[in-house]
């Protein structure tokens, strides 16, 4: 049972988390350790974050995050910067539409779920289903990622989601992928990707530094050579990764493998439309 309530049908200005919120100019700091309820409930934290956003803050710093979920979902201010210290919970930045979120720690599952635009930078690991159905924006992960990452990413017009994983990704990376770019660097050693890579993909591209065995490919995925445009895109992403984390990145293009869909119409010829 939560101890907060708000008037029905009114703007949601309430007392939620007021102890934790400090606003100076257009910079907000939310220190979760000051909350009388410990750990702070995610509804309270989201409520106080929305309050800071409504006040037009251009930066929100969260301190002491302990697994609170759904942070910054549908946040839409394009110039907003959110710094997360601690460990955010699942669905960080779901439906994100513009802001930049930087996590100084690990992220949990479903980071950037269905994001439209914006950036999520994780100075650690980001686990399962990161970037599900993203159709724009960028996710940079310094460390490793879990299973089913980048599933059903898509692209449209000038909006193309990109994801760079500094470490490794597990099975089903880029499953059902319909657009966008995933780059896996495998910097910590070990196999960069798992099995069923790009299973059912019908758009987009996956670049992997290291080797990809044919047995690792899922149905619908194929290994193809990098074009000059691909190399340009990889170099651009490497530059962004380097800027975000200050890490050295290997720029030798011969080390990269490209995985692409074997067809954009996987179901053509699959169905019989006879009027029986």
């Amino acid at each position: 049972m939560k101890d907060v309530c708000k008037p029905k049908g009114h703007a949601h200005e309430c007392d939620c988390g007021k102890e934790c919120l400090k606003v100076e100019g257009d910079r907000a700091v939310i220190d979760l350790s000051l909350s009388p309820a410990q750990p702070m409930h995610y509804t309270t934290l989201n409520c106080v974050m929305r309050k800071a956003m409504r006040r037009g803050c251009s930066s929100i710093e969260l301190k002491g995050v302990m697994g609170q979920r759904y942070l910054a979902s549908t946040a839409s201010a394009p110039d907003l910067y959110i710094a997360v210290h601690g460990t955010p919970g699942n669905d960080l930045g779901a439906f994100l539409n513009g802001p930049t979120i930087e996590v100084f720690g690990n992220a949990q599952d479903m980071t950037g779920n269905t994001m439209n635009s914006g950036r999520i930078i994780v100075h650690g690991n980001a686990w399962d289903v990161t970037g599900l159905a993203a159709r724009g924006g960028q996710i940079l992960v310094k460390g490793d990622t879990g299973y089913r990452v980048g599933i059903h990413m898509k692209e449209f017009g000038g909006s193309r989601p990109t994801m760079v994983i500094g470490g490794t990704a597990k099975d089903y990376l880029g499953e059902y992928m319909a657009g966008g770019t995933i780059l896996v660097l495998g910097l910590g050693g070990g196999a960069p990707v798992g099995r069923s890579l790009g299973a059912g993909m019908h758009g987009g591209r996956i670049f992997v530094r290291g080797t990809v065995g044919l047995e690792q490919l899922g149905p619908g995925a194929a290994i193809v050579p990098l074009s000059p445009d691909d190399e340009k895109e990889v170099r651009g992403l490497l530059g962004e990764f380097e800027n975000a984390f200050g890490a050295e990145v290997p720029g030798e293009m011969s080390e990269y493998v490209k995985v692409a869909p074997s067809s954009s119409r996987p179901f053509s010829g699959y169905y019989d439309k006879t009027n029986v």
Partner: protein
């Protein structure tokens, strides 16, 4: 001695199913039928209109003919009669032996499973509980969609709701339009549905195709859908509508994903769905972030956070054999309303094997869900919507009495617009301009005319609902919901009555 083998190569061409017949005594040779037939089943040859094959009985030519001189005849059986090997079974085998493909169809399951609705009889009031004349006395059909609060709290003179409670949506009748995406139907058809929903003050589903910018004017009457493909989802798609529904499954194809073929992904569809033009729009079979009730609870919660608890979040599932337990999990996961889509529900395209053979009739599913939620003390907190093959106000009334708060209709609204249920939606050639993206065909459907027809149909259904409520002596539709004592079963299998907790005909109260 054996026969000489035929020299001609067999192509195993299937016999025609329907034949348009033109009465040449009446035909004015205006050729409108030829021009209007999007299946090219009529042609103009040697100064007269003749059938050229491929007729699907969509009925467009009949409706358009100014001389009223066309009729469509089902072609009589062309196969040797056999009690087990039906004509369709043999046609299917011949087709698949030629194509090697998965048989695709559309609309709802069309084989002759009898509807349980037809085996249910309604009760009426006599002597001890007087009936009501709905034309002279008020009979309430207003229905609320969403989670019922357990209690209200008053704080500083204002009614407060707990953080996890979302508001209810008021609808003028216990009816909503199901989710039909832009893509599976045309712009004009979807606009007609939204206009009608606004006029009727009910809710229409957006389907999983995003929402066209022109349709935000109807947003107060739209329930947007979050399905496994996550197409067209952006903040306003979640925030500006009346409700959000997570689609787990569809009655016509339980367990199956959606698949909009690249041919239908026109520029408009690609912009609304936010996918490249001409690529297949695939909705994965499962949601890849939902492998458990706990995962579903997370998606419900993130949608509630995203919409700041200002609108109800529902979950739609296909009616499957364990539907009661699944519904219980969905309510516990925080869904404000629950939609159960029955076996006979429609679709724009589904593999025939799933459409015709998988799922549970909605009548049984409603009763199972209602009973399970009641047993677990959850039924009064949630709105149960149900649909899938609702053909008439009688079906609607029986669904309410079995335990649904709201009945979801789609195909009936299509038929009101002009659809003849010819089951060719997946071909994108709909001659009525409904299930197509071809500009010349969609322009045949005037959204204003279509919306007016839909409004008239469902106003009439609502009047029929009031008539029945009045005849039962009930003055508000809420008192009919789950009132299975006002139903009796007269069908062939008393076990069905038992699982639905409906008495058999002849069984009274005492």
């Amino acid at each position: 001695m054996s026969e000489t083998p035929p020299t001609k190569r067999l192509d195993h061409r299937l016999p025609e199913r329907f034949l348009p017949i033109v009465n040449y005594d009446l035909c004015r040779v205006c050729r409108r039928c030829v021009n209007d037939c999007s299946y090219q089943a009529l042609e103009f040859r040697e100064s007269k209109v003749v059938a050229s094959g491929g007729c699907v009985a969509c009925g467009r030519c009949i409706a358009i003919c100014p001389a009223n001189c066309i009729e469509i005849r089902p072609v009589p059986p062309q196969f040797a009669p056999h009690g087990n090997w039906s004509e369709r079974s043999r046609r299917s085998i011949l087709a698949q032996a030629s194509s090697g493909g998965v048989l695709l169809s559309s609309c709802g399951a069309d084989d002759e499973h009898p509807a349980i609705f037809d085996d249910l009889l309604l009760d009426a009031a006599q002597v001890t509980n007087p009936s009501i004349d709905p034309l002279r006395e008020p009979v309430e059909t207003v229905t609320y969609l969403g989670r019922r609060p357990g209690r209200l709290e008053v704080c500083d003179g204002k009614v407060m709701v707990r953080e996890d409670d979302t508001p209810l949506i008021r609808m003028d009748m216990p009816l909503m339009f199901g989710h039909i995406s832009l893509g599976s139907i045309s712009y004009n058809a979807q606009q007609a549905l939204f206009m009608a929903a606004k006029e009727l003050n009910i809710v229409a589903g957006s389907g999983e195709g995003g929402l066209h910018p022109d349709f935000y004017q109807y947003a107060d009457h739209i329930c947007s859908e979050v399905a496994s493909g996550r197409f067209g989802i952006k903040p306003e798609y979640l925030k500006e509508v009346a409700a959000v529904e997570i689609k787990i499954g569809q009655g016509a194809k339980p367990g199956h994903g959606g698949h909009l073929p690249g041919e239908k992904v026109t520029t408009m569809i690609s912009e609304t769905r936010m996918i490249p033009r001409g690529t297949d729009a695939l909705s994965p079979y499962p949601h890849h972030d939902i492998y458990s009730i706990e995962d579903l609870a997370q998606l419900i919660s993130v949608l509630k956070e995203s919409t700041e608890y200002r609108l109800p979040v529902g979950v739609k599932i296909a009616a499957v054999h364990n539907v009661g337990a699944i519904a219980s999990g969905i309510v516990r996961a925080g869904a404000d309303f629950l939609t159960v889509d029955g076996f006979k529900g429609g679709t724009g395209a589904a593999p025939r094997v799933i459409r015709d053979h998988a799922g549970l009739p909605v009548e049984v599913a409603i009763a199972a869900v209602d009973r399970r939620l009641t047993q677990e003390g959850l039924r009064n907190r949630v709105t149960v919507c149900a649909g899938g093959g609702i053909r008439s106000s009688a079906d609607m009334i029986k669904a309410l009495a079995l335990g649904a708060d709201v009945v979801m209709v789609s195909t009936s609204a299509m038929v009101a617009m002009g659809c003849r249920v010819c089951q060719q939606c997946h071909r994108g050639l709909c001659s009525w301009g409904i299930a197509t993206q071809r500009d010349d065909l969609t322009s045949r459907l005037d959204p204003n005319v279509a919306a007016a027809r839909i409004v008239r149909l469902f106003r009439a259904w609502n009047e029929e609902l009031k008539e029945v409520l009045g005849a039962m002596g009930i003055d508000a539709v809420e008192s009919l919901v789950g009132n299975r004592d006002r139903l009796r079963y007269r069908g062939p299998n008393p076990k069905i009555a038992e699982v639905m907790n409906v008495k058999h005909i002849g069984e009274g109260w005492g």
